[in-house]
């Protein structure tokens, strides 16, 4: 049973560029959440997708957007990258909106130069 997978593993971009990160949820899960984790900090909630709609959003600017596909996989897009966007981006999946346990992927390490 495959767990949560994310791609790419690492990414280097320059300021002002745009980036797309991808996530495939654990088999049987239909809800995907995205988190940003800066070095030495805990993950911060970006948003959550359920049934292809954004259901919850954290305190992130509109430069952060996402999408969920019919097969429940998801993308996170970040436009106009800033140096401060450098972080580990984590995807977590669960089987139902409001489910108590989330399963995290290995993350994508984004470096903005």
């Amino acid at each position: 049973d495959a767990g949560v997978t994310q791609s790419p593993t690492h990414l280097i971009k320059t300021r002002g560029q745009q980036v797309t990160l991808r996530c495939s949820p654990k088999s049987g899960h239909d809800t995907v959440s995205w988190y940003q984790q800066a070095l030495g900090q805990g993950p911060q909630f970006i948003f959550q997708y359920y049934e292809e709609e954004e259901r919850q959003r954290g305190n992130f600017p509109d430069r952060f957007s996402g999408h969920q596909f019919p097969n429940y996989s998801s993308e996170l897009n970040v436009n106009a990258l800033l140096l401060g966007d450098s972080a580990l981006y984590l995807c977590a999946s669960s089987w139902d909106w409001g489910s108590d346990t989330q399963y995290f992927g290995p993350g994508t390490r984004l470096t903005v130069l």
Binding site: Y35, T101, F104, P106
Partner: protein, 113 residues
């Protein structure tokens, strides 16, 4: 303001001893609290969940307590082993927030042989 805080300093203990990690929060009313383990460069791994109406929960060498009056959770690892060395994160799920997790900054645990 709303805050969730964990021991900011790393915890160093000897193998075989009990490690105790603290999670304090203010101005939240969590439906439940979760503990995760995170190894460097990896995504968090779910360990234990305790609900607001539960005082204590155990799983093998792990024990979690939850005091909603003190707004505090304690996480214990008994008979600690070097393999327990990692960063431990507590996370709150706020009632009716649809699975949005609020994380503490994490506590780094180092178990010396």
């Amino acid at each position: 303001s709303q805050k969730i805080e964990q021991n900011s300093e790393a915890l160093n203990i000897q193998e075989g001893k009990t490690a105790t990690l603290t999670c304090n929060y203010t101005n939240y009313s969590p439906a439940y609290l979760q503990w995760y383990r995170q190894d460097p460069g990896r995504g968090p791994v779910f360990l234990l969940l305790i609900r607001e109406n539960e005082k204590e929960k155990r799983k093998e060498r792990l024990k979690v307590t939850f005091d909603t009056t003190l707004k505090q959770s304690l996480f214990h690892i008994t008979a600690s082993q070097p393999a327990d060395s990692a960063t431990y994160l507590c996370a709150l799920d706020i009632a009716n927030q649809g699975g949005k997790l609020i994380f503490g900054q994490g506590t780094e645990l180092s178990v010396k042989p």
